[in-house]
Symmetry: C2
Subunit: 343 residues, 2 copies
């Protein structure tokens, strides 16, 4: 058998003795094509399982119908959930989705942005890597009119579109919940200090403490690298204090798991000796013997969906002359109390 050349419009035109534009029109449902011709073309296309070459179409239309998505990683439930939402919405709008993980490496993030620029994606939805300082690589996309919508981990500037979680409100709720349960010495287990979420948690903490007229003790607010070892070390330091904290608010459920593990190892009773509240509300929390007393739900699906929605609007109005307004959306959390199940 001779090497089969890949099906193109031109190739089909040759086989059917037509011009390539006729074939093109037939496939695209143009009115002015004879029914008979249309049928012949469609049948052949079917038989060859023809698929139009999007590269060629993109080149001509200056649109790729691809949305790039950059997230730190997909292992975290938060991001895989957000990505699901984005993928769903994009597919509904006939867009393709190009997902890449920065692995929290700024250099890798740069490369990904560069590669998406080369691919001429129609837009990028991104959550910054943990250590990203500058976002020049994202700003350079403006030369190519590629809009960017950030979510969750966003740059600290006004001239961008972003969807953020209301960390201040969530933390306030968490700490007040603990206060209402009688806790006065409450610790915070933050991520790296450079992360915006760490800073906001600390601010919210201070604010509640002031409101409740409790003396602020900054030795109760600690940063970790989010590893288990880091958490154990931080807990060692916290529990060595006098009086020791009776409650701790952790950066996320993964850290909370490590705190619970730490408690197990040191014979502390979770939610009795040490009360835990975290962020995220992972499904597995429900399978734990001693879950945190509560989690601040961050609604990853909604965050992703909102970001994707903004992106769709931006893309669809990209040629209008409306003055560009930067979208800043804030998603409120909700304190989910994990009641002990009874049967």
């Amino acid at each position: 058998m001779a090497v089969q050349s890949v099906p193109t419009i031109k190739e089909m035109a040759r086989q059917l003795n037509l011009s390539s534009s006729t074939v093109s029109r037939a496939l695209n449902g143009n009115q002015s094509i004879g029914l008979r011709t249309k049928m012949r073309v469609k049948q052949l296309a079917d038989q060859l399982s023809y698929a139009p070459n999007l590269n060629a179409i993109s080149l001509k239309q200056k649109k790729t119908f691809i949305i790039g998505v950059i997230v730190p990683n997909l292992r975290e439930h938060f991001f895989s959930e957000a990505v699901c939402a984005i993928e769903d919405l994009a597919l509904q709008n006939k867009y393709h989705v190009l997902i890449n993980q920065s692995q929290d490496d700024p250099e890798r993030e740069r490369q990904i942005v560069e590669s998406m620029k080369s691919l001429r994606v129609d837009g990028i939805i991104a959550s910054l890597s943990k250590n990203t300082q500058s976002c020049d690589h994202f700003l350079a996309l403006r030369n190519y009119n590629i809009p960017v919508v950030y979510f969750d981990r966003v740059p600290n500037r006004q001239d961008v579109h972003k969807v953020v979680f209301n960390m201040h409100g969530g933390t306030k709720d968490a700490i007040e919940h603990l206060y209402n349960r009688g806790h006065r010495r409450i610790a915070i287990l933050n991520g790296p200090e450079s992360m915006a979420s760490s800073i906001e948690r600390t601010n919210a903490y201070k604010q509640v403490m002031i409101k409740k007229r409790i003396k602020i003790d900054m030795s109760l607010v600690v940063s970790t690298d989010l590893t288990q070892a880091g958490t154990f070390e931080a807990m060692d330091n916290l529990m060595a204090q006098h009086p020791r904290p009776t409650a701790v608010v952790t950066m996320n459920d993964y850290v909370a798991l490590d705190v619970i593990e730490y408690a197990k190892n040191t014979k502390l009773k979770i939610n009795k000796d040490l009360c835990v509240i975290s962020y995220a509300n992972l499904p597995i929390i429900n399978y734990l013997q001693t879950p945190p007393v509560a989690s601040v739900e961050q609604y990853p699906w909604q965050q992703g969906a909102k970001a994707a929605g903004i992106m769709m609007d931006l893309i669809k109005n990209n040629d209008s002359d409306e003055p560009l307004v930067f979208q800043h959306v804030i998603i409120d959390g909700k304190l989910m109390v994990h009641e002990k199940k009874k049967r």
Copy 2:
């Protein structure tokens, strides 16, 4: 400010009073370009943060440098891990990765394949959706010379490249481990009957039973839809038997979690009244009060890496005339026993 046109070779040529071919050559490090010109071009490119249009290049070279990846979902640790490996290997080889989730929906899987075909990806790495019966949509890719490598959930045919887990061996190990601990009535909680893994587990089960001269009781081998409700129902039926099973091998860790939850609800002591072994070896297992006694590690990273490796070979030798040999790689599992930690 006038609307800035996007940087292209042509545009830069205009600004520099050069021809586009000169600019092209300068950017690609062609020897025959004057140093001075080369510098001028590179500087302008830098200033405009020029990025070559991959669509144009793909059109010409008939290569997109994109690898498509199709997985049922990214929520499962197994798949996100495998995807990480693929992404890493691809990036090392200067390939882009296009990840999509079928959400276990065969129709959506079809659409994704179609869209990747249109994008002219250089190859597809796929794990089939739970309910996919026919893989015609994948076979149609041959018209476009797009190679496919399957992993984990693979089609049951010889004329494809695939990386599979040695389910037979893993299950044998699991059941013999249970046998050695004294269990004689061992149940299997399979996924849908159509899944190859379910069938293989059943076969391995029968084989061990025969070898150990235990009468096979097929009422101990049940299928579920993998939901919590399905698992609870299946467990109700199993535990109603006389004598009831003392051990159960579950499809994966997620099902195992539900079995443990079921046990909690019905006051069964895990690994005492009911011994559990599952597949996957999720990180969270280590945080459970009563983890399964063992898990069959399936090495998702290796599976992904192997599939990506095969794909790279296929792509690089795509124009050679070597007779095409279909790669069938089998990854062996390992029974990981979860010892109780002591401190």
